[in-house]
Subunit: 222 residues, 2 copies
């Protein structure tokens, strides 16, 4: 029987989706047990906790699982209100933040992955699309300190911040110049890294690069 | 200048995503102006209101746009609390409902579309996948009256209900037998149609079938 207040996170170190949850838990000051999942031999607990997608991250709170990173962030925000919410209180501003978290979810990971996996024409297409994504995010950020609510580091920031430790990998494999294409976004990434929650969560970009390299070698470039 | 309380929905009659919003507005008893969008020549208002995805549905409330159907449903639920919420109050049950709404969003439309668009091996693959989706939804529904909270017609039900008017199209083009594969889901669909909000929103399945046929003819089967 799990203790009602017990918090565990089944995760994988390099996953931007898992890192979101770690940043959110750190922002709220929640103590939890980090459990690294072996993705080549998934645990019984993971398969039982997320039988539909069989994916990390899974948050276990009092033994009850919560799946899907953006849903986990909402859950953390509701259960541990803390000093400030990850979402604005105004319903329109809140819908706006959910829209951008969803945009990050659909676009950045999928296209970013193609930047280091693909070559030739497929890489050219991915680069073009990724630059569009950067410009779109850059325009949305504008001169705000953070995405979500101006001065508040919130849902959109937490959703996007983990990808900043992949920026080096994106550049190295594809030749996309992050700073040239999106200088405000790169400055925002630096501001995020000044936060303890982000600094202690994000891995060294070189380790991410090595990890991507080992995957590419294993599965071959397309 | 838009009136603060003015509600408009830019939509397209056969869109399951737009129908979700219409069902939600009807459930909450919100009066609004329905505006049919011409998807071959999108309006200035649509492009201005949803510049990122350029898609319907868009809810305009006091002139301010809200985009993406599941986000619109959350917005409607927050702004017009009404008799009951679309989501359970318990955070874990709420996360569970969001998980299944997301599942519907990712799986049903995309795979369902392949059922009437594809042929040959691609159709066989879509059929196999769709039966899996039906079985998964069937297991999640179990003996509950509704998906979201047992007796409450909520977010997951509203997200899925519009696809029931596509069931005939799915069957006719692919040969998947909905009732055989998912008898509980078909009974749930009948229960949904007993609600005024659903009955007045969903189009005649034969009109949906004709619409799918005209699209298939125009773009060719793959």
């Amino acid at each position: 029987m799990a203790i009602e207040s017990e918090v565990k996170l089944r995760d994988f170190w390099v996953s931007p989706f898992g890192q979101r949850c770690r940043i959110a838990l750190a922002e709220k000051g929640v103590e939890y047990e980090y459990q690294e999942e072996n993705l080549s031999a998934k645990s019984e607990l993971l398969l039982k906790s997320n039988p539909i997608h069989k994916k990390i991250p899974v948050l276990l709170h009092g033994g009850k699982p919560v799946c899907e990173s953006l849903i986990i962030l909402r859950y953390i925000d509701e259960v541990w209100p803390g000093k400030s919410s990850f979402l604005p209180s105004d319903p329109n501003a809140r819908a706006h933040a959910l829209f951008w978290a969803d945009y990050v979810d659909r676009k950045v990971y999928e296209c970013g992955t193609r930047l280091w996996k693909m070559s030739g024409e497929a890489l050219d297409a991915a680069k073009k699309e990724f630059v569009e994504i950067l410009k779109t995010l850059e325009a949305e950020l504008g001169d705000k300190k953070y995405f979500t609510g101006g001065d508040v580091f919130g849902l959109v920031d937490i959703a996007l911040a983990p990808f900043t430790s992949w920026f080096y990998t994106y550049e190295a494999y594809s030749g996309v110049r992050m700073e040239e294409e999106s200088p405000k976004l790169v400055k925002w990434a630096e501001r995020c890294k000044e936060r303890e929650s982000v600094a202690k969560t994000l891995p060294d970009p070189m380790k991410v690069y090595e990890f991507a390299g080992s995957l590419k070698k294993r599965f071959g470039g397309k």
